[in-house]
Amino acid sequence: MAVSKIFGASIRRREDPRLITGQATYTDDLRLPGMVHACIVRSPHAHARITRIDTNAARRHPGVVAVFTGADLQGKINPIPTAWLIPNSDLKTPPHPALAVDRVRYTGDGVAVVLAEDPYAARDAASLVQVDYEPLPAIVNQEQAVGSGAPQLHAEAPNNVAFTWKLAGGDAKAAFAEAERGGVVVRQRFVNQRLIPNAMETRSVVAKYASSAGDLTVWYTTQNPHIARFLMSVVTGIPEHKIRVVAPEVGGGFGSKIPFYADEAVVAFCARATGRPVKWTEDRRENYTATIHGRDHITDLEIAARRDGTLLGLRGKTWANLGAYLSTAAPGVPTILHGLMLTGCYTIPNVEYEVVGVFTNTTPVDAYRGAGRPEATYLIERMVDLVAGRLRLEPAEVRRKNFIRPDQFPYATAEGLSYDSGNYVPALERALELIEYKRLREVQQQGPKDGRYLGIGLSTYVEICGLGPSAVAGAVGFQGGLWESATVRMHPTGKATVYTGTSPHGQGEETTFAQIVSDQLGLPVEDIEVVHGDTGAISMGWGTYGSRTTVVGGAAIAIAAQRVRDKAAKIAAHMLEVAEGDLTFDQGRFSVRGSPDRAKTIQEVTLQAYLAWSLPAGVEPSLEASAYYDPTNFTFPFGTHAAVVKVDADTGQVELRRYVAVDDCGRVINPLIVDGQVHGGIVQGVAQALHEAATYNADGQLLTGSMADYAVPRARMFPRFVTGRTETPSPHNPIGVKGVGETGTIASTPAVVNAVMDALRSFGVTHIDMPLTPERIWTAIHNKSDKKAPEVKA
């Protein structure tokens, strides 16, 4: 394979050999000398006062080293902060103690921690910690939580309201007035149910404190080690330069490993208090209540349209369930990452929207794959179908009619964003072609076969990726920057090590980043090592989330590599005794223009850079460069997903028959990896449409609290996906990429729900809330007079 073709090639992943041989080291694989094991005692109540904690029996248990409660941490461990303080929203940030002191606010709230010589003893002793609770009334539904008489979680947040965020653009009132006169207004309530991320690796922390130097080292399952180090410093009071955070192999995150959790602070406290290295690994049952959940919106939405299908305005209100405390990014997810994408890929000039963030006695809610954008895409893509249905228009036609046109980019949306580039029609046409849309519509005309109804659903999405310009991050209250760092270091033998501030955990950037550097410097991929996830090795970085790793981190690497090449060119010109302008660079060789035989390879140049026997004037020895890339805008990938289902009217069973995804993520570095990202996202998104739901009872007990109860999707539930692509490079990104990590979850959910609703059209059923279980579908079909789906959530 020619080196010059490496960008864009489906090369095998460089991280795989260690992963397929069992040689990879995940956090729970670490064993340090003298290490003790922690088990956290968690509240079985959703809301209760703690009246007494007796740890004596636990302390006496053989093998127990220490037991700590919330009282022991007071004054030593600061409250767990939230890091997204959205402006103009009257945001309340009630304190979140690392271990509850006098009150627990959700099932799973940490109350005490037991340390023992082995994990079994720690667990045994944890069951001996006696906690006396005085149960309080609990509230789990966000709409009810803001009502009068609801149990109150925090004195600082009256009526359980964490914030009220408003968005307005254009003149929604006028748009709706016009639609009321001669057009159509469609109203719908949508429930975007709560989901549980279920990364296959649960969270795990190993902390070691050296009292002699005051050094804390923490290995843990994080998507953003530098943010974790910063927050660890804030919470423990240990200075930032005395903390090293390492993300070893991390087994998936999907957003759930972004937050800085109370548990991390507790483990660090324990390591410092006992002088022993401490390991804590969440078990899966614990993961279901102690690791963040996602989504959980209730939305009343209305859309205004002309009778020809022209969309005029969007107006609505969402109650976003935030759980018991504000997790790290929680306030920004249902607002900035959600509300700003409400009008999707359409020219809807008028929008008015309000989001109320609500505390409830449930597990905290934060970013889960897509984070706010799947919820927004679901709303607009369902609404477009409802408008088409009401006006008896073809759903694809309504989309075409309202798409932002290619000549309108950069496009200023009513929400205030500037979409960088897009060309929506070709992606739609390609998807319709791949799914054989026209033929399927004809088949559909023939009516159901054996009681099975065919449905075809579309989702034409746009998402906001590549988070993002730091100035915008600051303007919207994110308590950090969103630029990214990169260092490309050549070694004397002509090999390279690349350092990135992003922290990939399955997305394959050890491969794609090497492809970028290979493309820039003409080095074989095998000669490039990519280092990530260690604050001790990498100057700074903001981590992996928001489909930013390749977009922002990759761009930083490309710029750093260019700087290496620029310096190498100076040295090469000196070696060849020509002017720099007389050189060309191709496939790792600097050659003199017109005399291709006079050349120096990048390896030869690198060696001279390190020997420094004869460098041009003003050029320092060594060959490395760093870049700190702050994007000028977000990127806006888009595409069309199409789903074909068959619904059995007798049983309510949905079969997903075919699925096509046409994504435009700009330039593609490794098509195989992009396909993998798309496939994984589709499965998570389809599972929201059809299978998954976190369900609490009225007392705040999680009824879906294990993998036996929560419907994590399996291989047999899916057909073979067909992927296609169009390529519209981002005009402002140095390598033209847009990001692809979340497209699948963003696009697939409404595509599948639209397909099922399309299948049920003849029954007069227009909407059922997710997940579209056989019971809900059967009930909707057989209960046409009351088309509201049965409320599962208490």
Partner: protein, 160 residues
């Protein structure tokens, strides 16, 4: 209270005294230090801990170490021979059958069992054969491709 057990893992014989309640997966990971086998749940649903015991795939979180007394075990560390990757490992690498890699050891051991039963499996047989193994990253399609690839290699007729 502890009981003596002897097991052969990847061709090496081990003898240890273990608590009767010790799970086999913890014995493999913590006592023997073979951390390639993972724990993803506590309800036998995820299959991350799948290993071969006496030639059959088992979930090591669902067995006690004492139940493996006298058994022959194979874990992910024992898949490659003399540094040569097993065709299943090659298949997963070539077809991008893994992302975060956490489910992968168990997934590959389940694939070993699947291909023992169905040397030339249909796509449906593969998808149904993976019923006991969860992956949250890949969406399964590349895992299916990986197993088809491995099946071809094992039959001596590479698929692609």
């Amino acid at each position: 209270m502890k009981r003596a057990i002897s097991v052969t893992v990847n061709g090496t014989k081990y003898s240890n005294e273990v608590e009767p309640r010790l799970l086999l997966v913890h014995y493999i990971r913590d006592t023997l230090g073979l951390t390639g086998t993972h724990v993803g749940c506590d309800t036998s649903n995820c299959g991350a801990c799948t290993i071969m015991m006496n030639g059959r795939a088992v979930k090591a979180c669902t067995l006690l170490a004492v139940q493996a007394d006298g058994a022959q075990l194979q874990t992910v560390e024992g898949l490659a021979t003399n540094g040569d990757l097993h065709p299943i490992q090659q298949g997963f690498w070539e077809e991008h059958g893994l992302q975060c890699g956490f489910c992968t050891p168990g997934m590959m051991m389940a694939a070993l069992e699947l291909l023992r039963r169905h040397p030339d499996p249909s796509e449906t047989q593969i998808r149904e054969g993976l019923e006991g193994n969860l992956c949250r990253c890949t969406g399964y399609q590349h895992i299916v491709n990986s197993i088809q690839n491995a099946a071809g290699k094992l039959r001596g007729t590479p698929v692609r």
